[in-house]
Structure formats: structure tokens, C-alpha cells
């Protein structure tokens, strides 16, 4: 137990990427002492302490198993590095509910130079929280965002997790392979939020991919979503469409009010954490979810998630 947690935070805030692994160890530590250290660390990298939103572009990448996320990510990482951007990837895997253990193997498919300190890949188990991103992921993103140009949160999309990805990212990308109608059905049924970008992989399949792309575009239009771009990408050599995807990601970020999006995400995160901690009953004491959200919108914009949770707790205590 060497370095102080706040020191790690300060190093990250000043762009020292080598502090990242140790910082993530602290954030993953769920013991009371670990939580205390994590709070110290996160306080240093909060927007209020930094004086601005962290500059990283936070990209959420999700999709069903087998859609080709890893190959796509591998191609993206290569292209980002070629453009001189540093990249952190947080790969969130589902855990085995029975044993609590998990196999984290996705990083294997991201091809990279091990001596390149501009890339960090960290895999975490979702910690048994069904469908949800671990709270730790949210904090990990916050810790990495000051030190990396791009932070990717990659997760297997099974229902709820897409929504969670959306809550932590500036831009959400859903990856599907041609011929998979499920995603379309999920979006239509409202189970899944409409992503900022839809990527059809395996474009080397030619017509099949093009048709899938056309169908998705048409479906999105019928839902009244004109802003969502649909792109086709082939990650295997010769790669196609990766350049365009990165341009589209950057285009989306430029067109988005990042500060507002992150502020909203922090408030929703606080509400989630409050509910996990105190239960639905406590939420009802606040007048229910919608009331609580409305109330949060009136709070100080500089508050970070722990601050917002504390405010909610105070209000709940006053209400009961």
C-alpha cells in the first residue's frame, strides 16, 4: 500500500498515464477503506477540481456477442494511435453468477504493441450486477478521462447494459453483424435506446452488409431518428470504413454539448447509486424517480456523483 490515493488522482489529472493501473486497483477495491481511498482519488479528478470537463472523448461500444466488437475495436485502436491519440479501453465482461468468477479474454483480440504506453486495456467483471455496468466502471471512466484522449467502454449488449453504456459515454456505438434482426427489434420495442451510431460489421460480406445497413437506416427513419448514422465496417484486412467511423465519432462529439450530457449522466448515476444503496422505498420517499430527477436538475452543476448522492440522502432523511 504505497502511494496516496489523492496522489494517484493528481498524477492522472496532470496527464500521467502510468498512474492509471494503480488508480483502477483503488477504484475496484470495495472494502470500506478502499471506498474511502477511491473517494479521495475521484475528488481530485472531478470536473469541479479540474475546473472543466475532462477532455477525453468517452465512447461506449456495445453489441451482441459475436458481432465483431473486438475486431472492430482492434482496428479502431490502431487508427486512433496512428492519429496520435492515446486510448484507454475498459472491457466489461459478464461474471459467472454461480461462482462469482469470470474469464476476461476479450483484450486478447486487440492487437497492440505492449511497449506502447499510449494504450491501456483493462478488463473488469460486471460484478454480478445483472445487465448493469459495475459502478466501478463509471468511476474508472472518470479517473481515466483526464489522462487519455479516448476512453472506450466496451461491453456485451444484453438488454439493459446498452442504457448503462449510454449513461457513461459521450457517444454510444452499437455494433451489429449483418442479418441480426434482434437489435432492430430491441430498438423498435424501446428495450434499447437509439444509439448515436450504428455500425454494421463484416462489410466484406458485401451485399448482405449493405442490405443490413439499408434496413437499419430505414427502420431508424421510421422511428423518427434522423440523426443516427449507420456505417458499414470491415475490420479484417483490408479494413474498410474505419476511417469513416472515426470521423463520424468525432463529428458526433463536436455536435454534442458534452458538458450537458455528462452533467445529466452524473445525476442519473447518483440516483442509481442512491437507489442501489437505500432501495426503492427510499426513492419513493423522494417522491419517486421522476420527481427525484427533477429535483436533481436544480442542484449545483459542480457536484460530483458522491456529492449528489449525499444531497439525495440528506433530502430523503429530511423527508422521512
Amino acid at each position: 500500500m504505497s502511494e496516496g490515493a489523492a496522489d494517484l488522482g493528481r498524477r492522472l489529472a496532470s496527464g500521467d498515464r502510468s498512474a492509471a493501473p494503480a488508480a483502477l486497483n483503488v477504484i475496484e477495491d470495495r472494502s470500506p477503506r478502499g471506498r474511502e481511498r477511491a473517494r479521495e482519488l475521484l475528488a481530485v479528478v472531478s470536473p469541479a477540481s479540474l475546473g472543466h470537463e475532462a477532455p477525453a472523448h468517452i465512447v461506449g461500444l456495445t453489441g451482441p456477442p459475436g458481432a465483431g466488437k473486438s475486431s472492430l475495436l482492434s482496428a479502431l485502436v490502431r487508427e486512433w494511435r496512428a492519429r496520435g491519440k492515446t486510448v484507454a479501453v475498459l472491457a466489461v465482461d459478464p461474471s459467472s453468477k454461480r461462482s462469482g468468477g469470470s474469464l476476461l479474454g476479450d483484450r486478447a483480440r486487440i492487437d497492440h504493441d505492449p511497449k506502447d504506453d499510449g494504450i491501456l486495456i483493462r478488463s473488469t467483471a460486471a460484478g454480478g450486477r445483472l445487465g448493469g455496468l459495475a459502478a466501478a466502471t463509471r468511476e474508472a471512466v472518470q479517473a481515466l478521462a483526464p489522462a487519455f484522449d479516448v476512453v472506450v467502454v466496451e461491453t456485451v449488449g444484453v438488454g439493459q447494459s446498452e442504457t448503462d453504456v449510454e449513461e457513461v459515454s459521450d457517444t454510444t456505438v452499437v455494433v451489429v453483424q449483418p442479418g441480426s434482426g434482434d437489435t432492430l427489434q430491441f430498438i423498435k420495442a424501446g428495450i434499447m435506446e437509439v444509439p448515436d451510431l450504428l455500425v454494421v460489421t463484416k462489410a466484406d460480406l458485401g451485399d448482405v452488409a449493405l442490405r443490413a445497413r439499408r434496413d437499419l437506416s430505414a427502420a431508424l427513419r421510421s422511428l423518427g431518428s434522423r440523426d443516427t448514422k449507420v456505417l458499414a465496417v470491415a475490420s479484417l484486412p483490408p479494413p474498410e470504413g474505419v476511417d469513416e467511423l472515426i470521423d463520424a465519432l468525432e463529428g458526433h462529439r463536436e455536435a454534442t454539448d458534452i458538458a450537458a450530457r455528462r452533467l445529466r449522466a452524473r445525476r442519473l448515476a447518483a440516483l442509481d447509486e442512491f437507489t442501489v444503496e437505500h432501495g426503492e422505498r427510499a426513492l419513493r420517499a423522494l417522491g419517486g424517480r421522476r420527481d427525484a430527477e427533477r429535483w436533481l436538475r436544480g442542484q449545483d452543476e459542480g457536484l460530483d456523483v458522491p456529492g449528489l448522492v449525499a444531497a439525495l440522502e440528506q433530502r430523503a432523511a429530511g423527508a422521512s
Binding site: R30, G34, R98, R107, R109, K115, R122, S123, A125
Partner: protein
């Protein structure tokens, strides 16, 4: 009759071959080192510790000339255990023949060339599945007319059994692979030629200790093969429909404990493939009794050759027609296996055939192997000397100065590195560049057969690494599925409860779940051990980072740091532990990872001691067959290093 041989340099292997031919061996079986098998030159980063280790290093036609010096190629039957780079090694072999004025039409032999089993078991692949199948089809189409006595591919069910396949799985996956190869080849040759292509497909099969069932397996394979030929491919000539196979008997069941017992196992396994004439192997290779200890010495290999000679010349084994004809028991056993295999082949076909089903098959194999390992641990599967009858008198066989195994001179690697550098500086660069550019062009055009451009490269003096690098550029890099991610969690029988409690307690004290990195450094592709450790660690409740095979020490160190693991487990079976393990430990320290390292593999006692002194925390060898005990040990190690208690 031959022994699988080759090590260090072309010159030394050449001397070994000449000696073996004198001893009565009737053909050559060339073992290549892992860099040659995976398409890297001796000076590549990944080659470190592997040059000349499990076979001979062949980097260019000069090496091949030296390897075959004085051996009459026109009369020789040469088997090459080469897969991903088979097209290249065949081209080198042909070039040497050509430059010695031997007609290519007279060349006889086999290139193993079964890439599916490399993805499933052996791990020496180089290119993605699609392009790999294309290379195979190109070779088949090329050899059928140009080198008509050559077996361009040897479908291997052997390695599937080594990876844990049941007899049914072994048959089904090998036959599905053959089907994928034939389907690909059919696109490349005309209709009249195709039956001859079918006739040139041979198999490389395993034989385990349950030798009656194993014999039935071979009869079953013969039946399925013939039916496949008639029904799917319309072959009618009964000579072309014959199921031709060679055998290497099982290594998986050979034990480190009381290794002398392995000789008995090998003899019984040899019976499995020779007993009945109707399903007798055409070529037989026997492993050495001390394989689980380290690299066999020439004497150990001689002992295995003698087993075959006694079976062939002293016993009456070869004097009778098929002794199982009319046996109801044998027939019943065979039809049971045929039925099971057909059902499993149908599942593979549903996945879209062997190429598309690699992930599925890999997961099935990992599960079967997990089951086997668990059975041995529980004592349900008895292994004499290992989990029963363990007490033994000291073995005089292992008392010699060499500890009963062969060690390769570490100077070989440096010598080969210098030699390849010298080779590169002494050739016509212009011709090399042109040949490589033509290779890229051929690779990018699916309708061009890769062989002519490959032969041109061989003649121009291109190196193994250069040839493969060009194709990697065109085809892409590939990492095979590990099969562990989807491996089923075993049924709850309470056997893991204590271990899980321990993991849970230590995780609680640490504040986060015990996290382990399971790594395979170097080119060794035998991943069964690592996979079993990874799956069990998950089942015990740990977070496991497993990245599959072929990792550089630098990459393992970087991963350990980035992932924040509590312990690193390394697995090596190729004998390169002495070079690679210290390297990983050094890289870890350099990267600032202060985590314990444990090592598992075929590691002689002397080397194990060295590693412990160097800072490795634990060394496990094949005699440590109780994986749960190893896991418990590792958890305690993590607890100790982090100053937390394991007790409740």
C-alpha cells in the same frame, strides 16, 4: 517405421537422419522447430528460446539443402510435420530436389497441413481460417498433377484426442475437417481429377489406452470415410475410397509419475492400431517413455523403434486376416461410434461446417478435457502410479547424469540468428524483392494458385519469416478462439465449495476479487494446460485474464500491470522455459509489477530448482494433477503476499 526427429540445426539433423536410416528406419519424419512452423525467422522476437528446440530450424533453401544432404530424395518417403507454412516447406523441398536434378514427379511424402486442428489444439497457425483453407486447397490442386505421389494433407484427429476429445468427437471433427478441405479443393480442380484428390487425403490418428474401443474407432472412421466418398463426392473407385492413416499413439495419457509404466501403455496403444488387418495403420510412430519429463534422448527413441520391430518381426500379429471379422461385440462398438459421430458431424454442419464451427468445437474440447481432468482428480479414472498405487521404488532409469532427458545446446539459437543474417546479406536483394511482390499479388488474387509464386520465392532465397510476413500482410493476423470463455460451469457437486470459500474470503480481505493472469509465453501452442487452469480458476471464483497463446514476455508484463492482477501463472511445454521464464520475470519487474509468478509445464527438477531460486514462487509439473489443490495453493500465495489471512 520411423521416428519423429529433428532438432537444432540442419546439419545436426542431417547426421541424425543418416544414422536412423542405417538403423533400419524406412523413411524420414521431419520435426521443425516452432519458429519454422509458425513462419518466423530465428531472429524474430517471438522465436526467442524456441530456435532448434522441438525440431530443426529451416529458414531458407540453404538450410533445406543441408538438411537433406546425401539423402536420395527420389527414393525417400518424407513426412513433414508442418501446417501453416506447409506450402513454403514443400516449395523448399521441391527446390532442393530441382537443384539436385531430381524429378518432382518422383517425390513422395506427406505435409501435415491440417490447419483446423491447429486452431483447436496445437496452436501453430499463422493466418486466419479462410486464407488458411485456401492455401491448403492450392497445395492440393497443385500437387495432384505436379507431385502426384505427394500427400498434400494429413487430416489430424491425433491432436484432437490430445486436447481432450472423446472418440466420437475425434471422429466427427476430423471427418468434418476433411469435408471442409474437400469442399474447398473441389472448387480448385476439375471433375475428372477430383476422385484422385479424394484418394490422396490421408489421416493422422491417435490411439489411447482403451485399446479395444480405439480399434473400433478406426474401423468406424473407415466406414464413415468410404460413405462420405461415395455419397457426398461420388467417388466409385474402391482403391481411392480406402481410409489411409498413420498413427502416433497417445501422449496425453503418459505420466510423469513412474514414467517407466509409459512403455507398457505405448505397447498396448500400438496394438489398438495394428490388431485388425481391416483397420491397420499404414505408418506408426511411437512416443518415448519420458515425454512427460522433457525431450527424449536418441536412446529413448530407439526403445520406441524396438517396440515396433518386436511387434512386426517377433509376434504373429501380421500373419492373419482380420481377426475381428464376425465379432458381434466389435461390430456393435463400431456402429455405436459411427452413429455418435454422424450426429456430432450434423451439429458441426449446422454451424456451417468445420471452418465456421471452430469456436464451437474448441469449446466442446475444453469441456471434455475438463471432465477428464476432474475424473482423474476424483479417482473415477484410474491412472496407475499417478492417482492410484503411487508408492514406488526409486527408478534407476532416471539416475544418469542427464536426469533422463535431452537438453538442446542454447548456443544453437545464436548460431542460427547469425546464419540467417549472413544469408540475407549474401543474396540478390532485387530478385528477392521481386519474388515477394509477386507473392503478394498472387495472395491477393483468390483465383491464382499460391504455389508458383511460393516456388519462385524459394528459388530466390527468400526466408521463412519473409514469406510468412508477406502473407500475414495480405491475409491479416489471427488469434484462435481460446474456448474457455464459453466452457460450461460444472454441475454443482460441492467439490469446489471449500476452494470457493477460500477465494471469497481472500477476495473480501483484498477488497476486490482475486485476479490471475494465465499466460503462455513464446510460440508453444499446446494450450490445454493453460485452458484447464483458466477454467478452474474461474469456477473457483477468481477473475481470470487469459489471452491465449503466443505472447511475448513484454506483452505478458504489460497485461499484468494494466490488469492489476494479484498473481501471474505461466504455462510452457515446449522446453523453452529456461529462456522465457526469466525473461518474463525480468519484464515484470521492469514494468513495476510486484506480483508472484507461478509456472506450470514439463519442467525437469533441476530447472525447477533454478527457477525457484530466481524468484518464481511455485513450479507445477504433470504430476501435480489435482488442479483444485494447485488453485488453493495459489490463493494462499496471494493472501500471503498481500498480508491477509486465508482462514475464516
Amino acid at each position: 517405421m520411423r521416428t519423429y526427429a529433428g532438432h537444432s540445426t540442419a546439419k545436426e539433423s542431417n547426421a541424425l537422419y543418416r544414422k536412423n536410416l542405417e538403423k533400419g528406419q524406412t523413411g524420414l519424419s521431419i520435426a521443425f522447430d516452432l519458429p519454422t512452423q509458425t513462419g518466423y525467422d530465428p531472429d524474430h522476437e517471438l522465436s526467442r528460446g524456441e530456435v532448434g528446440k522441438v525440431g530443426v530450424s529451416i529458414a531458407h533453401k540453404g538450410d533445406m539443402h543441408q538438411l537433406l544432404d546425401g539423402i536420395p530424395l527420389g527414393e525417400m518417403n518424407t513426412s513433414m510435420t508442418i501446417n501453416a507454412t506447409a506450402a513454403w516447406l514443400l516449395a523448399l523441398y521441391m527446390t532442393v530436389a530441382e537443384e539436385n536434378d531430381v524429378d518432382r514427379g518422383s517425390l513422395q511424402g506427406t505435409t501435415q497441413n491440417d490447419i483446423i486442428k491447429e486452431f483447436l489444439s496445437r496452436g501453430t497457425y499463422a493466418f486466419p481460417p479462410g486464407p488458411s483453407m485456401r492455401l491448403i486447397a492450392d497445395m492440393i490442386a497443385f500437387t495432384v498433377d505436379e507431385v502426384p505421389k505427394w500427400n498434400p494433407i494429413n487430416i489430424c484427429s491425433y491432436h484432437l484426442q490430445e486436447a481432450g476429445a472423446t472418440p466420437v468427437q475425434e471422429i466427427a471433427y476430423a471427418m468434418s475437417t476433411a469435408q471442409a478441405v474437400l469442399d474447398a479443393a473441389r472448387e480448385r480442380v476439375d471433375e475428372e481429377t477430383f476422385p484422385r484428390v479424394f484418394g490422396r487425403i490421408s489421416f493422422f490418428v491417435n490411439a489411447g489406452i482403451r485399446f479395444i474401443e480405439e480399434h473400433a474407432k478406426l474401423r468406424a472412421m473407415g466406414q464413415i470415410w468410404e460413405q462420405l466418398g461415395r455419397e457426398r463426392y461420388g467417388v466409385t473407385d474402391s482403391k481411392l475410397l480406402r481410409f489411409r492413416y498413420g498413427v502416433q499413439v497417445n501422449s496425453l495419457g503418459l505420466t510423469e509419475a513412474q514414467p517407466e509404466n509409459n512403455v507398457i501403455r505405448i505397447v498396448l496403444e500400438a496394438l489398438a492400431v495394428t490388431l485388425g488387418r481391416n483397420a491397420r495403420a499404414r505408418a506408426l510412430q511411437l512416443p518415448a517413455w519420458n515425454e512427460a519429463l522433457g525431450l527424449p534422448r536418441p536412446w529413448d527413441q530407439q526403445w520406441s523403434l524396438r517396440i515396433q520391430q518386436i511387434l512386426a518381426y517377433e509376434t504373429d500379429l501380421l500373419e492373419y486376416p482380420d481377426i475381428f471379422e464376425g465379432s458381434h461385440v466389435m461390430e456393435g462398438l463400431v456402429s455405436e461410434l459411427v452413429e455418435g459421430a454422424r450426429a456430432e458431424m450434423a451439429v458441426v454442419a449446422e454451424h456451417g461446417g468445420a471452418v465456421e464451427a471452430v469456436d464451437y468445437m474448441k469449446t466442446q474440447l475444453v469441456e471434455s478435457h475438463s471432465e477428464r481432468v476432474a475424473k482423474i482428480e476424483r479417482g473415477d479414472l484410474k491412472v496407475i502410479g499417478q492417482n492410484v498405487f503411487q508408492s514406488s521404488e526409486p527408478s534407476p532409469l532416471q539416475e544418469g547424469e542427464d536426469g533422463g532427458i535431452l537438453t538442446v545446446d542454447p548456443g544453437v539459437e545464436q548460431g542460427q540468428i547469425e546464419a540467417v543474417e549472413k544469408w540475407r546479406s549474401s543474396r540478390d536483394d532485387d530478385a528477392v524483392g521481386k519474388a515477394l511482390d509477386a507473392l503478394s499479388e498472387a495472395a491477393r488474387d483468390e483465383n491464382t494458385n499460391i504455389m508458383e509464386a511460393t516456388l519462385a520465392c524459394a528459388r530466390a532465397g527468400v526466408t521463412t519469416g519473409e514469406w510468412a510476413a508477406r502473407l500475414r500482410e495480405c491475409f491479416g493476423e489471427y488469434r484462435a478462439p481460446t474456448g474457455v470463455g464459453d466452457a460450461a460451469v460444472p454441475a454443482e457437486d460441492g467439490s469446489l465449495d471449500d476452494l470457493r470459500d477460500k477465494v471469497e474470503r481472500v477476495s473480501e480481505s483484498l477488497g476486490r476479487r482475486v485476479k490471475i493472469l494465465v499466460g503462455k509465453p513464446g510460440l508453444d501452442g499446446h494450450s490445454n494446460g493453460a485452458e484447464q487452469i483458466a477454467v478452474r480458476a474461474r469456477d473457483a471464483g477468481m477473475d481470470v485474464v487469459y489471452e491465449g497463446i503466443r505472447l511475448t514476455p513484454a506483452r505478458i508484463a504489460a497485461t499484468a500491470v494494466q490488469e492489476g492482477v494479484h498473481v501471474v501463472g505461466l504455462s510452457i511445454l515446449s522446453g523453452s522455459h529456461r529462456e522465457l521464464i526469466p525473461e518474463v520475470v525480468r519484464e515484470l519487474r521492469e514494468a513495476g509489477a510486484d506480483v508472484p509468478v507461478v509456472v506450470g509445464g514439463i519442467i525437469p527438477a533441476r530447472d525447477a530448482q533454478e527457477m525457484l531460486e530466481m524468484g518464481v514462487a511455485r513450479v507445477y509439473t504433470p504430476k501435480d494433477f489435482e488442479i483444485s489443490r494447485i488453485m488453493g495453493d495459489i490463493v494462499e500465495l496471494v493472501a500471503e503476499r498481500n498480508g491477509v489471512a486465508t482462514a475464516a
